[in-house]
Symmetry: C2
Subunit: 218 residues, 2 copies
DNA sequence: ATATAAATTTAGGTTAGTCTAAAAATAGTT
DNA sequence: AACTATTTTTAGACTAACCTAAATTTATAT
């Protein structure tokens, strides 16, 4: 039996460590989960005992294959639920995260498989993040930050890095959505802002915005 | 803030006490929640402190209006989720209860209202139990146990009392479903069994079955 | 290499929810 | 009314998950 809290720790280690490939520090977990480092130490010991994590004191944590599978399942559920809320229940992409944080812990194989089927086996969630398959595998796509595009190059918006409600609403307001085609018209060295063209309109965006939008080049 | 555990206790008090109208004993709650009477006493004190329950030692527990509203909301969510699983995700009526036990604790007004809309505002769950409305009100229907029907009277099956998987599967096997018309052909004094006609077939059912099927007479 | 700073762990406590065993109150029976 | 059985409560302990404060280890900078 795995508890909801354990699942959240494992998920954090997974996501902070690039889908379970890197070792993660105690403090980074504490920050992600809004808890204290001492609590993290306690939990990480337990996860190691249970076979979900590799841990040597002062050396950080990583996931075992078993831990990785658990994490991928939780992330799969989180993202499928987000897709469901947007596709079937009229939620907007800035409303779904907190509810998915709750729904990701519901235990039922059939439920998640039926949800997958109902949504016609989506590969990405409403924020453009990939949905792990039943085996926990993730299809890697070659996306880059808009900030990395040179002048006079084009890209299609495929995801957001910052998924905060305020950023998503900013994008909505300016009609920037997944699938939008964006051309970098010019870049400003002074403040790293850029002028882009989208929907046949030019607009200036800050460095912060450009650093939180994923595009597929070309 | 109300915890998942508190919600489960409140729901039990609600259901054992006929939708919050009766006082409930410590032992009955313990049995329903598969816990010990001493744990119930502790929790019931806390619920009283928080204003959800009325409690005097040795005298049993009842719900305050506030507690009743919380209970009705949880039951509403439980039953709407059960309906969703059957209507939209291909679950059978014997598979939904345990998952609904988890889903009933998800906190989101919008989620439950959208679910309600998606299902076109159902009044009953897959077992024939009424779904409380947003205000916590329940539409009372005049149903009776099949066991109470006299010989040569008819009824329409509108619900089950026992919602165990084994009973529901028994009903499936004999093609007894909500909406089925049932005629009591004869009753046997000896063992309280009865012969019924359903789908133009006669069959004998035990007293146990007759006492767990709700029908609407006539 | 030492000193200082930052990160991490340990020690000791708290709270929610549970349990067992014993005590107290209520209900049932002669 | 008195005894007995049942129900309920209290007392004391346990675990999971958290915290603060102090100790320890590792990293960084002279
Ligand atoms: Mn999310
Ligand atoms: Mn997402
Ligand atoms: Mn149910
Ligand atoms: Mn039901």
């Amino acid at each position: 039996m795995i508890t909801l809290t354990e699942e959240n720790y494992i998920k954090s280690i997974y996501q902070l460590g690039r889908y379970g490939t890197l070792t993660v520090s105690t403090n980074s977990i504490a920050e992600a989960l809004e808890t204290k480092a001492s609590s993290v130490t306690d939990m990480v010991k337990k996860l190691a005992e249970k076979g979900y994590a590799n841990y040597k004191r002062y050396q950080g944590v990583s996931l075992t294959p078993q831990g990785k599978k658990i994490a991928a399942d939780v992330v799969r559920k989180h993202r499928l639920w987000e897709a469901f809320l947007v596709e079937k229940l009229n939620f907007t992409w800035d409303e779904v995260h907190d509810i998915a944080e709750q729904l990701e812990h519901i235990k039922s194989e059939k439920l998640i498989n039926e949800l997958d089927k109902l949504l016609d086996y989506p590969t990405h969630d409403p924020h453009g993040d990939p949905i792990p398959d039943k085996n926990g595998d993730i299809k890697k796509t070659d996306k880059t930050l808009l900030f990395n595009l040179a002048e006079n190059t084009k890209g299609v918006c495929v995801g957001v890095k910052d998924t905060s409600s305020s950023f998503l609403k900013y994008l909505d307001k300016h009609k920037i959505a997944l699938g939008s085609e964006i051309t970098v018209v010019s870049r400003e060295d002074f403040d790293d802002s850029m002028v882009i063209e989208i929907n046949n309109l030019k607009m200036s965006i800050s460095q912060t915005v450009a650093n939180n939008l994923f595009v597929k080049e070309g």
